[in-house]
Amino acid sequence: MLSIRSISAGYGPARVLFGLSLELRAGEVSVILGRNGAGKSTTLKAVMAMVPLSSGQIWFSGKRIDRCATWEIARAGIGYVAEERRIFPDLSVLENLEAGRRSARGHGSPWSVERIIALLPALGPLGRRRAGTLSGGEQQMLAVARTLMGNPSCILLDEPSEGLAPAVVERLATLVRTLRGEGMAVLLAEQNMRFALAVSDNAHIIEKGGLRFSGTARQLQEHADLSAEYLAL
């Protein structure tokens, strides 16, 4: 569904990715693991054309998207939840959701505010609150919900568990499993390995802008040495 083909990217003269390739199939949850600075966020941003590619191609649902504008990529069906959440702080929770709304593209039942709140009841009573005043966990839920309102078929989550309390992380894990149940493809970038392996089918480890490991989550769990080498100290 989403195919990243040997891309190189960076910020100005600074290089972050060096010929990275990844595949994500429909209905699959994959995680990109790696220490910070390894290039996880940059990979997701490159998919969204928020970081320019210096080489390589990106394909989505049989269409080449690496020359498209960010908004066109979003409309093609890729949802993006940014690392710092980046909710619109002066807008209310409901307005944030409304800003993300796009009509559905055929498959699956479309998302509505009611359905979102049924899935994330915590957002229910917060509707009129200014989003900037929410707690970190609430902001994260809002960021995911806002992206869902665009009815994406594939969703990119950048370090969703960062800075969240364990209980909230658990709720997040449930949410990701639900999305997968809906047939959505999910690509996570994570540092929190437990959370990542708990929700993912496949795992990729990147370090210094290149792929070091690709396999199922189970395989990675069995190779404790791999995780120690690339993720811990």
Partner: protein
């Protein structure tokens, strides 16, 4: 008592108009981050269009309600459409250009609009009809107050309310607010920015047009309204906070009332001087703005703007060092100039003197904008103060010409010392607007201090000393002084001081991290640039024999900007070429082509869109690729 109340009401009336223009400017800036210099022109277009539309609707008969209000609505709508067209044809192409080029592009639109208005409506003031049914006056505390002004007072809050509804109760408004807060994230949610930008521009233009059209019963349509209005709108937007509409409303009220208060208080005596506050509204207004900027750099209701990614191509290239060939060319030009008087006629000699003086003026501005990286919209302040300083020393203090010509630059340097201290505390668009505000202060002081400066008549009889009174002798004086000054400026650029300035521009962070006190160096850059501009001004005064406040008006600042940008900010010879081209265009082409400003505007638009590096920059980069 009643006069204070009336002045208060007058303040509210002008606040409404200010708000309409500023709200549009703020809306456009918030989302596109382009400061639309042409917003005053849109206002002016609104008032002219309303004049004609009402005329057409009324036919030969009386002005009916339908004709009047229909005319105003049509005028505003047409201006809105013009705004949308502008966005699509010009601005969309420069969103990724450096800030300065965006400003220049919108400024080119100002030039185009000015000539368009002159061409369509002619130079005379056009007095519009009164509003039917609102032509009378009501009595307030025993004094008459126009009904139409009361109506205008209501328009401000009404439009604020409508805008609020539009922004808070429609999906379009929601998307505008979202994109204003985080443009990139809005795009990541699939929001089409092109449509959003165009529509925001159209609405902003509509509001400016409406603000203009609604003035038709109150003031005549005049072709210089664009500058007066844009300066006021800049002040309001900066005071209120860029991108904040409630902020614009608050600031419009504040500025409107401050102005009204100045008029209400009248003359004030202090220290034996009599200061006429009604004449100094602009000074007071600018002081309010300066004070707000110092204490709340983002305005009353604004907040620090998210940093947008560096536009591509904004990086400065290496500064050219003079190659032997260039040095030869320079010597050849100077030698050529030195023998010019032998065969040039009086007329071309005057033109060359002008070119030399403006080359120095442009070089001093370039010193500030190029190596020091600070865009100034108000460089004419130093040029003008230099001119007035010299003229006053000569006429009033009775100094000989030789000394007066030194006093001019000294006065300009002192002004730069004061203004620069404030300016270096800000950066980017804010710094540019503060320079503009200071220039307007200087202008209004000169314009309105009749007893000293002669007001709008200026000072006459500023003639050089007998030994320099011949055209040729004065030409040599200008050639020597300007040539030397430009040479000195060039030397400074390549001196350790110049290196430090460029270092501060390239990376203030890095500069501070090697122990450079960035602000002090930038402050000193203001002094140098101001002093040399003052010298140009002093030479200008004695070359013309008379000066008027025009020498420190916005138009003069803008000429400087156009010269620098025409030639290219990144080159040292650019401002010289730019000054020559622009002065020549003004002197020669203006005689043969009526609408040469429009032509210049078109040239600028083409240059900015096609060659963002300027003429010389373009040539040298072509040369580099050829090599």
């Amino acid at each position: 008592m009643s006069s204070i109340v009336l002045q208060f009401l007058n303040g509210l009336t002008s606040a409404s108009t200010l708000f309409l223009v500023a709200a549009g400017l703020s809306l456009i800036f918030g989302i596109t981050r382009v400061l639309n210099f042409a917003h005053g022109s849109l206002y002016m277009l609104g008032i002219y269009l309303a004049y004609s539309a009402i005329g057409v609707f009324a036919g030969g008969g009386g002005v009916t309600h339908a004709a009047f209000w229909g005319g105003i609505l049509i005028a505003a709508t047409v201006v809105g459409i013009v705004g949308a067209l502008l966005e699509v044809t010009v601005l969309r192409r420069v969103y990724r250009s450096p800030e300065l080029f965006q400003l220049l592009a919108t400024f080119a639109v100002v030039l185009l609009a000015k000539d368009l208005v002159l061409w369509l409506w002619g130079p005379e003031d056009l007095l519009g009809p009164r509003a039917p049914g609102l032509g009378g006056a009501v009595e307030i505390l025993g004094s008459p107050f126009p009904e139409y002004d009361l109506f205008l007072i209501a328009v401000g809050p009404l439009i604020l309310g409508l805008l609020w509804l539009l922004l808070h109760a429609t999906r379009w408004g929601l998307l505008i607010r979202a994109a204003t807060q985080d443009r990139e994230m809005a795009a990541a949610l699939g929001i089409n920015q092109k449509l959003l930008f165009t529509s925001a521009f159209a609405l902003g233009a509509f509001l400016a047009g409406l603000g203009g059209a609604l003035q038709i019963p109150r003031e005549p349509a005049q072709h210089f309204l664009d500058f007066t209005v844009i300066v006021d709108a800049f002040v309001v937007v900066v005071v209120g906070g860029m991108g904040s509409i409630p902020g614009a409303f608050l600031a419009a009220l504040l500025i409107g009332e401050v102005k009204a208060l100045c008029i209400g208080i009248g003359d004030v005596g202090a220290f034996g001087f009599s200061i006429s506050l009604p004449k100094l509204t602009l000074v007071v207004e600018s002081l309010v703005m300066a004070a707000v900027l110092i204490f709340r750099p983002w305005g009353l209701m604004g907040r620090a703007l998210a940093v947008l990614p560096d536009p591509a191509g904004a990086r400065q290239a290496l500064l050219e060092k003079s190659t032997p060939r260039m040095r030869m060319a320079g010597i050849a030009i100077i030698a050529g100039l030195a023998v010019t008087p032998a065969f040039a006629n009086e007329y071309s000699l005057v033109l060359i003197i002008d070119i030399l003086i403006f080359a120095l003026f442009a070089s001093s501005l370039h010193f500030l904008m190029g190596p020091s990286g600070m865009a100034s919209f108000g460089h004419a302040a130093y040029f003008g103060l230099g001119a007035y300083g010299a003229a006053l020393a000569f006429k009033h203090a009775g100094f000989p010409m030789e000394i007066s010509i030194v006093i001019g630059p000294v006065i300009a340097t002192i002004a730069a010392l004061a203004f620069g201290w404030f300016c270096v505390r800000l950066s980017g668009v804010y710094l540019a607007m503060l320079t503009l505000a200071f220039a307007q202060i200087a202008w209004s002081v000169v314009y309105q201090w009749d007893s000293l400066t002669g007001g709008s008549n200026g000072i006459v009889g500023v003639w050089p000393a007998p030994w320099l009174s011949g055209r040729v002798a004065y030409f040599y004086l200008v050639l020597v002084l300007c040539g030397a000054a430009i040479g000195v400026l060039r030397r400074i650029v390549f001196s350790p001081f110049g290196y430090a300035l460029r270092a501060c521009r390239d990376s203030p962070l890095r500069a501070a991290a090697i122990g450079i006190d960035v602000r002090r160096f930038q402050w000193m850059a203001f002094l140098v640039a101001g002093g040399f501009a003052g010298l140009a001004g002093a030479l200008f005064a004695f070359s013309k024999g008379s000066i008027s406040p025009e020498v420190l008006a916005i138009g003069q600042s803008v000429d400087g900007l156009v010269m620098v940008l025409l030639g290219g900010v990144q080159t040292l010879s650019g401002p010289l070429v730019g000054a020559a081209v622009l002065t020549w265009l003004q002197e020669l082409v203006a005689r043969h082509i009526d609408y040469w400003r429009a032509l210049l505007g078109l040239i600028i638009i083409v240059l900015v869109v096609a060659f963002p590096a300027g003429i010389v920059g373009q040539l040298s980069s072509r040369r580099r690729t050829a090599e």
